[in-house]
Symmetry: C2
Subunit: 329 residues, 2 copies
């Protein structure tokens, strides 16, 4: 299978990680091209070189698609271009491994879903939280009943701000903190609770964003889930630059029989048996699973249906934060 | 000064702790009496005995007030009786050290506030979070600018459920999880942010409450504060019985220059200088400060005005959770 990457503004690196993890994979990275006007592909080109990969470099991704005829394309341009490029790939009947959020508007998401449903192709997404080894261990334990019935989930995504690219500074090109980062917390709440989203109330703020224009740097969401489960998310770009890691991802899942927490890449279970650390689960990679799904030999931890659902939840959470109103799903 | 205690259903124990911490205090515990029909004062009477205190025991608190003529009365009966007894003490012009919430309805709170304003007496409240040594250390550091401008606060109150008294099983006598426990998180959000509450959206659930009737065992609140600061609270009775401590209280305060967290009774500051543990501050006690406030030689960390405000916020958060609507202050 031939793989290409469009864009270098998100996590195209997941492709390289997947190839590294599966050296026996019968797949080749054949091309790289920017997806947005003014986008540089130098970072991903350098990462390829470091991995001993030498894809052809293109200025125009359409020419790359015409010439290389890839089977699978990873899409990670400026976020405002996700929808357009994914749509184009669906029309060309090329499997898509897309950066989140799939679209920046609900209308765009509906268009994508229609095109996807008609296409019969595979659409994977760079929603990687369930593949984080400690989070995956927590998820496995919860699914096997370690905390009984889940009642309350709190997820935290905290990152260093640093200096973000220019396109982060406009809502029109960036999309917002909740669709970009909050969507990971949404996916965690969805999978850890195993429940359906009923409504959301959210807040976000651009204050103190150190000259980043319209970029929100703090946000919180409260989700009412089916069966009266409650999920909350805290999202921020306030992690101090002196911190030892870029991100401070956490989740706490409280159930009727125990509590599971992930913090500092460790998963801890507290229940009637006492406290124990859970063995991290790094058994497969996000992109590796997607390749297996295309081949029909495996499947992604996040289904395409869940990806569409999470994206819609994120866009409606942003609407709630913008409007100050509760939004129902 | 003569002190009496009415009720044994809350934290009358704070009085004993205050007396223990200030052995030179010129104050004597003169009487104990139940405040609610069917309430037992055995627990607090036993605690007094263990401290070498021998207050007179009464069945009727009115007789106790008439005979002992206390200067200060701690009030902690069934929660539905807080308002009525506080009101009676205000009318008798006796200083009140009251369990929270001051009242179970907004109307009741308005009545209390009017009576308090007219009375000229001192009204303290068992809102003790700011006196927890690690939380107080965090509060001191934030007030001195250690995290810059506070943008996001998340507070957690998680307790073991165990078997709760009968009056916990009815909203009419208990008042609800948010007014009873959530109010502590509300006080933390108020003091750590230094901001005014603008609106609240909340959810709570009685599901899986192990036969506790109308008692909610999980809840979350999202507060929009002034200056676009966001506060969230997670409140639950889901702490596993095997846990090493009864409660799992936490707060995370993210600001423009750093993050402070309290967890397991430790306060940690992360900012440009790196990570450091904050020295716990146990310099004064809640009841000791209240006694000093009455004498005019000190003041409580939580003012009476803040106590009324926190109580109103808690009652309106409960209204939001009941109604599913955003409530503005």
């Amino acid at each position: 299978m031939k793989i290409a990457i469009i864009g270098a503004s998100g996590h195209g690196i997941f492709v390289l990680e997947g190839l590294r993890r599966k050296p026996d994979i019968s797949a080749a990275l054949v091309g790289l091209a920017p997806g947005s006007e003014g986008e540089s592909i130098i970072p991903i080109a350098e990462a390829c070189q470091a991995d001993g990969l030498h894809p052809a470099l293109y200025k125009d991704y359409r020419r790359m698609l015409d010439e290389q005829k890839p089977d699978v394309v990873a899409v990670n341009p400026f976020f405002c271009d996700h929808e357009r490029i994914i749509l184009e790939l669906l029309h060309r009947r090329i499997h898509v491994f897309a950066e989140k959020p799939l679209a920046l508007t609900v209308e765009g998401l509906v268009r994508l879903r229609e095109a996807y449903t008609r296409s019969g192709i595979h659409l994977g997404c760079m929603l990687n939280m369930r593949y984080e080894p400690a989070l995956r261990a927590a998820y496995n334990a919860i699914r096997s009943g370690a905390v009984g019935e889940v009642r309350l989930v709190h997820a935290q995504k905290s990152y260093k701000l640093g200096r973000r690219p220019e396109f982060f500074k406009q809502r029109a090109t960036f999309g917002g903190l909740i669709p970009w980062i909050g969507i990971h917390a949404i996916d965690l709440i969805a999978c850890m609770s195993g429940r359906r989203f009923v409504s959301v109330y959210a807040a976000h703020s651009t204050q103190n964003n150190r000259g980043h224009g319209e970029l929100e740097v703090s946000a919180s969401c409260l989700f009412r889930m089916s069966n009266e489960v409650i999920g909350t998310a805290g999202i921020d770009y306030l992690r101090p630059s002196a911190a030892s890691s870029h991100e401070d991802d956490r989740v706490r899942v409280a159930g009727t029989e125990g509590v599971i927490e992930v913090r500092d890449r460790n998963a801890t279970l507290l229940n009637s048996a006492g406290i124990c650390e859970l063995e991290p689960d790094a058994s497969t990679s996000l992109f590796g699973d997607f390749m297996d799904e295309i081949r029909g030999t495996g499947r992604c931890l996040v289904s395409t249906e869940e990806t569409f659902a999470n994206t819609e939840v994120a866009l409606l959470a942003r609407l709630s934060a913008d409007s100050g109103k509760v939004v129902f799903f």
